[in-house]
C-alpha cells in the first residue's frame, strides 16, 4: 500500500541506458516497393490481363468491320466503330435453318429460364423445408439418392427422360424442357434450402406449431419471409445455369424452341457462307450478356451461390 504512489506512473525508464535511445525506433523502414509487393501485384496483374483479354477481344472485334478484321490484329482497337455486326447478330444472322438472328433464341431462353427458375426454386425450397423441418421416415433415403444423382453424368439419364416426355406428349416442347431443368436443378437447390432452413432457429418453428400453424402456413408465413437471401442466391444460380445450358436445350426441344446458346452455336459454327467474325463476336457477347449482368449486379451473392452449390454439390 505504501508503494502505491511510486507505482502509479508506468514510465520509469531510468534503467534504459542512454545509448539505446539512438537505436531503431518506430516502424521498420521498408523500401517503398518491396520485391514481395512486385511479385504479388505483378502476378495478379498479369493474371487479370489474361482473364480480361478474351472479353476485350470480343468487344473490339464486334465493333470492327470485316475488312478491318482481315488486315488488322485482333487486339488493336477498332479504327472505325460500327454497330452493324450487333444489329445483324440480333436480327438477321443465319443458322443452317433460318435467318432470324439471335433474337429468336433470346426470347426462347427467356421463356425457358423464367418458368424453370420459378418452378425449380419453388419445388426445391419446399423439398428442403420438408427435409429440415418435417422429417418423415424414408425422406433421407430419397435425399441421398438425389445428392448422389447430382454426380451422375447427364448423358446417362438423357434417353429415359426422352422416353418419359414422349409418353406424356411434352418431348420437344418448352414445358418439357422446364421439367428437365427442374429435375436437374433439384439436388443442389434442395441441399441449399435444406441447409439454410436447418440453420434457422428451431424455436421459431416450434412456436409457430404451438400457435397452430401447419405445413403450408409455416412455410409461407415464417420460412419464406425469413429466407429471402437464400432465394436470391438460388435465383442467381438458376438463372445463370439455365441460361447457359446447351445440352438439355439441344436434346429436349425442337429447333423452333432452341435456346440462345444453341442458336449462337448454330450461327457461329454454321458451315454456310463467309465467316463474319464481327457478327459472331457480337452474338457471343449478346448471349453472355445476361449471366454477366447477373454476375456483376449480384457480386458477393454470386460467390456465395457458387460456393454453396459447389462445395456441397
Amino acid at each position: 500500500m505504501s508503494d502505491r504512489g511510486q507505482l502509479k506512473k508506468t514510465a520509469h525508464l531510468s534503467e534504459v541506458p542512454a545509448a539505446w535511445e539512438a537505436g531503431p525506433r518506430g516502424a521498420k523502414p521498408r523500401r517503398l516497393v518491396s520485391t514481395r509487393t512486385i511479385v504479388v501485384y505483378g502476378t495478379l496483374f498479369v493474371a487479370a490481363a489474361y482473364y480480361l483479354l478474351p472479353l476485350y477481344v470480343m468487344i473490339v472485334t464486334s465493333l470492327k468491320g470485316m475488312p478491318e478484321i482481315r488486315v488488322g490484329n485482333i487486339f488493336s482497337p477498332p479504327l472505325e466503330i460500327t454497330f452493324e455486326p450487333w444489329v445483324k447478330a440480333w436480327s438477321s444472322a443465319c443458322t443452317g435453318l433460318n435467318c432470324d438472328g439471335l433474337s429468336r433464341g433470346f426470347w426462347n431462353s427467356v421463356m425457358i429460364t423464367v418458368p424453370s427458375t420459378i418452378i425449380s426454386i419453388a419445388v426445391a425450397s419446399i423439398n428442403g423445408y420438408a427435409l429440415s423441418n418435417w422429417r418423415f421416415k424414408g425422406a433421407d433415403i430419397f435425399f441421398t439418392i438425389l445428392i448422389v444423382g447430382a454426380f451422375i453424368p447427364y448423358q446417362v439419364m438423357l434417353y429415359p427422360i426422352v422416353i418419359v416426355l414422349r409418353e406424356i406428349g411434352l418431348y420437344g416442347s418448352l414445358s418439357g424442357l422446364v421439367i428437365v431443368h427442374t429435375i436437374f436443378g433439384m439436388p443442389i437447390l434442395t441441399l441449399l434450402f435444406r441447409n439454410y432452413f436447418a440453420g434457422l432457429p428451431e424455436e421459431l418453428f416450434k412456436a409457430a406449431r404451438v400457435d397452430g400453424a401447419g405445413f403450408w402456413g409455416i412455410y409461407f408465413k415464417i420460412m419464406v419471409p425469413m429466407s429471402l437471401p437464400i432465394f436470391v442466391v438460388a435465383m442467381i444460380l438458376q438463372v445463370t445455369g439455365i441460361w447457359n445450358d446447351f445440352l438439355f436445350g439441344v436434346v429436349f426441344t425442337r429447333p423452333e424452341y432452341y435456346p440462345m446458346t444453341v442458336q449462337l452455336n448454330n450461327i457461329v459454327n454454321s458451315v454456310q457462307g463467309v465467316k463474319e467474325y464481327n457478327v459472331n463476336m457480337a452474338a457471343t457477347i449478346l448471349t453472355g450478356a445476361v449471366p454477366l449482368l447477373v454476375y456483376f449486379v449480384s457480386g458477393r451473392l454470386f460467390v456465395r451461390g457458387i460456393a454453396a452449390g459447389a462445395v456441397k454439390g
Binding site: 472479353l55 423439398n127 446417362v156 433439384m186
Partner: protein, 309 residues
C-alpha cells in the same frame, strides 16, 4: 411415478393417433416431386440405361440382349479410344493446372492486397459465362489467321506457330486453355475460402518459430486444407467427365475426330447416328468413371472421416 407410467400407456393406446402413412401427410405430398425425381429419373433412369447397354438397340430401344457386344464394339472404336485419351489428357492437366493456378491466385489474394474485390471479380467472371460462349471466344482467339498466332508473327516472330485448333496432335490443349480460363476462378474462390478458414494464430506461431512463408504454406497450411483440396478435386473431376458444350462450340470434335470426348460420343450415337446401344454403353462407361472418382471420396468423407476426428 405410477401416474406418469399410466399416462404414457394411455397415449400409446390413443384411438385417434394418426396412422403411419397419414402422419406428416402434407410433407409427404409436398415431397412427391423429389421422390419421383430421385426414384424414377435418377435411380430408374440410370438402371434403365445400364440395362439397355446390354441390348442391340439401334433406332429404338429394344430388349434384345447381346451381352457385352456393345462394350466390345465401343472399345474397338477408334473414335471412342481417342475420346478416352483426350479425356485423360484433358482431365489430368486441367486438374493439375486449375489446382495450382487456383491455389497460387488464392494465396496471392490472401496477402492483404488492395483491390481484392476487383481482382476477384475479374478472375471469376468467366465462370458466369457458358461453355458455348467460352468455346467460341477461344475459337476466335486461337484462330491461326487472325488470332494470337498471327499477332505474334506480325510482331516479327515469323516462325511462331500456335494453332491448336487446326493441329490434331495438340487440339486438346487448345480446349484446355479455354477450360482453365473459364474454371480457375471458381477454384481460386474455393481455395481462398479455405485459406481464410485457417486460424490466424497458425500464421503468427509460424512467424514466431521463424518458418519462412513458403514453408508454412507447404508444410502447415496446405496439409491443413486437405478437405478443401479434396472437395475441389471432386468438383473439378465431375465437371471434367461431363465436358461437352465446350468441345462442340470450340472444335465440334475436330479436326477430324482429334478432339472428341466421351460425352459427345454419347450424344452423337444416341441422337444423331441412331445407334442407341452404343450411346448407352458409352454413357455407362462415363458413369463408371464418375463412380471411380466419387466412391472413394464418399467413403473417406462419410465413413473414414468420422473415425479420424
Amino acid at each position: 411415478m405410477t401416474g406418469q407410467a399410466t399416462g404414457r400407456a394411455t397415449t400409446r393406446a390413443h384411438p385417434g393417433r394418426p396412422g403411419r402413412l397419414t402422419r406428416n401427410l402434407s410433407a409427404k405430398i409436398a415431397s412427391i416431386p423429389m421422390m419421383l425425381t430421385a426414384v424414377v429419373v435418377f435411380l430408374g433412369g440410370t438402371l434403365w440405361t445400364v440395362l439397355y447397354s446390354f441390348t442391340s438397340s439401334k433406332l429404338l430401344p429394344r430388349l434384345k440382349f447381346v451381352g457385352l457386344d456393345q462394350y466390345e464394339r465401343l472399345w474397338a472404336a477408334p473414335r471412342w479410344l481417342v475420346s478416352i485419351e483426350n479425356l485423360a489428357i484433358y482431365g489430368i492437366f486441367s486438374l493439375i493446372f486449375s489446382m495450382v493456378i487456383g491455389f497460387v491466385l488464392a494465396a496471392l489474394m490472401d496477402q492483404k492486397i488492395r483491390f481484392e474485390n476487383t481482382f476477384r471479380t475479374i478472375f471469376l467472371y468467366p465462370f458466369a459465362l457458358s461453355f458455348i460462349v467460352t468455346g467460341l471466344v477461344w475459337q476466335w482467339l486461337l484462330n491461326p489467321e487472325h488470332g494470337v498466332q498471327s499477332v505474334v508473327r506480325a510482331m516479327g516472330w515469323a516462325g511462331f506457330s500456335f494453332d491448336p485448333l487446326y493441329n490434331s496432335s495438340i487440339v486438346i490443349y487448345g480446349i484446355l486453355i479455354a477450360a482453365l480460363w473459364q474454371g480457375t476462378g471458381l477454384v481460386m474462390c474455393l481455395m481462398l475460402a479455405g485459406l481464410r478458414g485457417i486460424d490466424e494464430d497458425i500464421w503468427k506461431a509460424s512467424r514466431v518459430d521463424g518458418i519462412p512463408m513458403w514453408k508454412t504454406y507447404l508444410f502447415v497450411v496446405i496439409p491443413m486444407m486437405r478437405p478443401v483440396f479434396v472437395t475441389t478435386l471432386v468438383i473439378i473431376a465431375s465437371g471434367i467427365v461431363r465436358v461437352y458444350d465446350l468441345v462442340v462450340a470450340q472444335t465440334s470434335g475436330g479436326p477430324g475426330i482429334a478432339s472428341e470426348v466421351p460425352a459427345k460420343y454419347v450424344y452423337d450415337y444416341m441422337f444423331q447416328a441412331q445407334n442407341l446401344g452404343q450411346g448407352f454403353a458409352a454413357s455407362t462407361m462415363m458413369l463408371i468413371t464418375v463412380a471411380i472418382i466419387i466412391v472413394p471420396w464418399a467413403y473417406l468423407e462419410f465413413s473414414g472421416g468420422r473415425k479420424r476426428v
